[in-house]
Symmetry: C2
Subunit: 243 residues, 2 copies
Amino acid sequence: MTRNIYDQEDFFAGYSRLPRSVQGLDGAAEWPAMRALLPAMTGRRVLDLGCGFGWFARWARREGAASVLAIDVSAKMLARAAEMTNDPAITYARGDLEMLDVPAAAFDLAYSSLAFHYVANLEHTFPVIRRALTPGAPFVFSVEHPLYTAPSAPGFVTAVDGRRVWPLDRYLDEGERKTDWLATGVIKRHRTIGTYVRLLLGAGFTLTHLEEWGPTDAQIAQHPEWAVERDRPPFMLVAARSS
Amino acid sequence: MTRNIYDQEDFFAGYSRLPRSVQGLDGAAEWPAMRALLPAMTGRRVLDLGCGFGWFARWARREGAASVLAIDVSAKMLARAAEMTNDPAITYARGDLEMLDVPAAAFDLAYSSLAFHYVANLEHTFPVIRRALTPGAPFVFSVEHPLYTAPSAPGFVTAVDGRRVWPLDRYLDEGERKTDWLATGVIKRHRTIGTYVRLLLGAGFTLTHLEEWGPTDAQIAQHPEWAVERDRPPFMLVAARSS
C-alpha cells in the first residue's frame, strides 16, 4: 500500500497551508498549463485519481462534467473535500492507486494531479486506467518532474565556481526516495521520463503531449523567486488518449 | 547552415580517433539499444541522416536493405565513407539537415545517430522526414540527452558535501550551447525532451519508444568508469512511426 503520508498530522497541517490547498486550482502555478491540455468537460464522466481536497472535481462539475468519481488514499483529505460540496454527481471514494479497481469503459476522462510519483506500481495502475476509459478518451496527468525526484539530496547547491546548480545524480537509478518535505521521511518513487512513456504506451495509450513545466515570464515577473524553477523543471505534464 | 565542425581539422582528427569511428557500430556503447529499436532491414529503402563514416549505411546493406541514401554535412567524413565501400546501392550525399530536401514517400526507414543536437531548425527537418517516409514507416534516432546539453558548464563537479553531481542549470532555456569537446567552441542546440516530443507529434509521427540511455550492468562491469553515466544519461534514443 502507498504510505499514506497525507493522513500524518504534520504533513497534513503543512499541506493544508499550501496556496494550492487554500486557493484551489488558481493557487497551483501549473494549473493554466494543465487546463490547456483538458478537453471540454460538458457531459463527461470523469475519473479523478488522487483528488485531494476535491478542487478539480468541483471545477469539472462547474464546467459541465456529468459526474466525477474522485479517489484518494487520505481519509482526512476526503473528509475535507466532502465538507466543501453537496453535489450528488461527485462521488468521493477512498482508495489506493497501487490497487486501483474501477469499472471498465465507464469514464470519458482520467485526470491526476501530482499523485503518481507516490505510487510504486504504475505497471498495475496505468492498464486499469486504460480499461476504465472509453475508446479515444483522454488521460491527463502531472507528476513531480523526474529531475526533481532523482537526486540523493534534492535542493539547489552552490558549485565551486559560485554558480547555483541542481545537484543531479542517480537519475537512472529508479525507485524509492526519502525526502523531507512538510514532514520528515516522505517516500516518493523516482522513475525516468522514459519509464513513464514506456508504461503509458505499454498500457495501450497514445502519447499526445509531454511538457516539462516551468514558470512563464509573466509568472516570474509576479514571483521573481520562481525563476530558479527554469533551471530544473518541477513538474511534468502528460496527455495521452486510449487507443 | 549548421556550423560544420566536423570539417575543422582538430575536431575531425579527434573524432576520427573515437572508438565509434575506429571500430564502427560496435564501438558505440548505445548501439545494442539502438539496434533493438530497428525493424528488419530486408528490402528497406533507408534514409540515414548524419551518416558520418557510413558505418550504419554499410551495416544496413549487409542486413539486406535495398538501398541507403546517406547524408552528411561533412565533406571529409563523406570522403572517408566513400573510400570504405563500392556498394552501388549506397548513395553518399552532402547536405545540411537544416535545409533537408529529399523525395516524398521514397523511404521505408529514417535513421539518425547523434546528429540532431547540432541542428537548430528541426521544425523544418522533422516534417521533411515525415513526408519522405511511406505510411507507417519507422523513424529511429538518437541525440545527446538534454541533461547533457543543458548546463552552462557540462561536467561533473564535487558538491560541498563531497558528492559528485551533475551541475544542472538552464534546462528550460533552450538554444545554443558552446562547449569544448574535441575542439573549442563546438556549438550544440539544447532542447528539452518535451520539445523533441512536441516536434515529432507536430510533424505527424506517433511516438513508439523513448529511452534515456545509460550503460547496462554488464557494460559497467567491463568499463567501471562508465558507471557515472547512470547519474546523468548521455543519450536519448527515440522511435516513432509515420502516421
